[in-house]
């Protein structure tokens, strides 16, 4: 187990280093001078040069990369070119919306997908299975931002049970949760459809195994067999998908925030792109990629906990 853990940790560190190099290279080395963007077309050369100096842009790229990484490791992401405040503060405020939204959506997706997947696998080939599979086909094809607009139309404008947009902050947790409910449903449904399909096929695969027949032979009901034996063994592919979905949800949150005018990472990054605030773009992208890589790492660890055979493989 220790060797497995060390192997995964080395791979995690390598992925983070290479990903940060790629992001740095794209943002810093490809054409464009942040100082000129910040000061506009009419700025004098002296002013631009002074600002370049202050931002540390005159340093050699390898040195700048090291400064950037060392800064991030200590929570210093630099200063936003347009907001003139630390990027870490900006990102922190926005993450307080985007992260709970992604987690809320993930929770909903799991809560919808598990009963649906279990039902479809348990009633394979019958009406309930066909209904679940038909619904998931439509769910997978739904663009979440369009579904969000329909939710607003029905639940915010027609029935007025949820707000159509905006975020009151976490001062009143219930109001905050209410504001995130429609966005979370919009994000969750298409992902729940994918998850339910994966769970169903993973369950059907394990239900064909000999040990399941043994479990049935010793007198367990079909439901007990699924819950006690099949589900645990079907969890490896399901966990992979849940891990991947978290990153999709975090990225998807960026789009959904647009529909509901939520002050999350998405709004921040799109404003940063239009204002050429490249340091904010760089930091937010790094945080998103960091989240994906760390979640993948955690999923790998979860595999080992579920399936002991995987621990012996490096």
């Amino acid at each position: 187990m220790q060797r497995y853990l060390v192997g995964r940790l080395v791979s995690l560190a390598l992925s983070l280093v290479v990903a940060s190099l790629v992001i740095f290279a794209v943002i810093e080395i490809v054409p464009g001078d942040p100082a000129s963007y910040m000061l506009g077309l009419n700025a004098s050369e002296d002013t631009v040069a002074a600002l370049r100096d202050r931002l540390g842009l005159n340093e050699a790229p390898p040195l700048r990369y090291l400064h950037w990484v060392a800064g991030m490791a200590t929570g210093d992401f630099g200063q936003s070119y347009t907001y003139k405040v630390p990027v870490a503060d900006l990102v922190g405020q926005r993450l307080a919306v985007s992260l709970p939204l992604a987690l809320y959506a993930l929770l909903l997706a799991v809560l919808i997908a598990f009963p649906a997947g279990l039902l479809a696998a348990g009633r394979r080939g019958r009406v309930a299975d066909a209904a679940v599979m038909g619904a998931t086909q439509v769910g997978v094809a739904l663009p979440n931002f369009w579904f969000a607009m329909l939710l607003v139309l029905v639940f915010a404008l027609h029935w007025q049970v949820f707000p159509a947009g905006g975020f009151p902050g976490w001062g009143e947790p219930l109001a905050g949760l209410r504001a995130l409910t429609l966005p979370a449903i919009a994000l969750a449904l298409p992902q729940a459809a994918i998850l339910a399909r994966v769970l169903r096929s993973a369950l059907i695969e394990t239900l064909g195994q000999d040990y399941i027949r043994t479990a049935r032979a010793k007198g367990l009901t079909a439901g007990q067999t699924i819950l006690r034996h099949a589900l645990r063994n079907a969890m490896v592919p399901v966990l992979t998908i849940i891990g991947m979905q978290f990153s999709f949800l975090l990225a998807g949150a960026i789009i959904i925030e647009n529909v509901f005018y939520l002050p999350g990472l998405g709004r921040l990054i799109f404003q940063a792109i239009t204002q050429r605030d490249l340091i904010v773009v760089e930091s937010v992208v790094m945080i998103l990629v960091f989240a994906v890589i760390v979640v993948t790492f955690l999923v790998d660890l979860a595999y080992a906990a579920i399936d002991p055979r995987l621990r012996t493989r490096a």
């Binding site: 990903a19 054409p31 663009p143 607009m149 404008l157 789009i255 994906v292």
Partner: protein
């Protein structure tokens, strides 16, 4: 032919036909603005109504199909063009450093969702349909590399491949002459899935302004423009969304049907 496969084929062909026909004919000109006719509900003159500039929604959907299909198709081409050779190489040199580098490179690209790639590219070069193609295309590369490697690895253990090796054929030649033709079915199925995902991704990118720019018609941008008018004229938002859902649904059903037909192991299973 199973009903779902027939439905998938019909929906996919309808989207393709709409895109193709829009090259020579649309019910109305998509570039002409008619403010007096703005936000009209569906009627005989405008089957699906008009948008806030008085443009015919049915015509815009037809022209938008062109953008969606072109972006998704080229992105699949990029993914296959780079991913398939990489996957073949990794499988041919299975267990070697090359294999390890290709697979770790794949993992790395997987850490960048297509939206994040698009954000990076747009931050540097500005938004355009070409950037959307590149972003979705890059995202497709590891998908095809993995499918190719997985399919190829199981073939490398088979006798007819061993025979080719004994006959003196090199690994590159075996990959091209024997492995590739035998995994084509896998690639066709994956291609259909990535095509439908590409249409969803293109719509999302255009919706947030990172994809096709005006005046290029695009389903995602139609939805972005409709967002503020959804209470006044719901049809402006409903039809472009339906177009996306039906096209993606059609392609997914087509992909499922093709898999059932092309994969002998699945034949006969429900």
């Amino acid at each position: 032919m199973r009903l779902s496969f027939a439905l998938g084929l019909a929906l996919s062909l309808a989207a393709l036909a709409a895109a193709a026909v829009s090259l020579v004919w649309t019910p109305h000109d998509v570039a002409t603005l008619a403010i007096a006719d703005r936000l009209r509900p569906p009627d005989a003159a405008h089957w699906l109504g008009t948008d806030h500039f008085g443009r015919d929604i049915a015509s815009m959907l037809m022209a938008g199909a062109r953008t969606s299909i072109a972006v998704a198709l080229v992105a699949v081409g990029i993914g296959m063009g780079a991913g398939v050779p990489l996957g073949l190489l990794a499988a041919a040199r299975s267990g070697s450093l090359t294999d390890e580098v290709v697979m770790r490179g794949n993992d790395l690209i997987f850490a960048f969702p297509s939206l994040v790639i698009a954000i990076l590219i747009t931050a540097v070069f500005g938004p355009s349909a070409v950037n959307a193609i590149i972003a979705i295309g890059i995202f497709n590369i590891p998908v095809f590399a993995r499918v190719t490697r997985g399919g190829a690895l199981s073939l490398w253990t088979l006798d007819f491949i061993r025979a080719a090796e004994v006959a003196g054929k090199g690994r590159v030649r075996i990959s091209a002459e024997h492995i590739l033709p035998n995994i084509l079915n896998l690639l066709v199925v994956q291609g259909t899935i990535q095509f439908s995902l590409g249409i969803l991704a293109e719509a999302g990118l255009s919706y947030v302004g990172l994809g096709a720019q005006p005046p290029t018609p695009s389903w995602g941008r139609m939805l972005a423009e409709a967002q503020t008018m959804v209470t006044l004229a719901p049809h402006v938002a409903i039809f472009p969304g339906l177009a996306i859902v039906l096209t993606v649904l059609g392609l997914n059903l087509l992909g499922d049907g093709l898999r059932d037909r092309l994969d002998p192991r699945l034949r006969g299973r429900a």
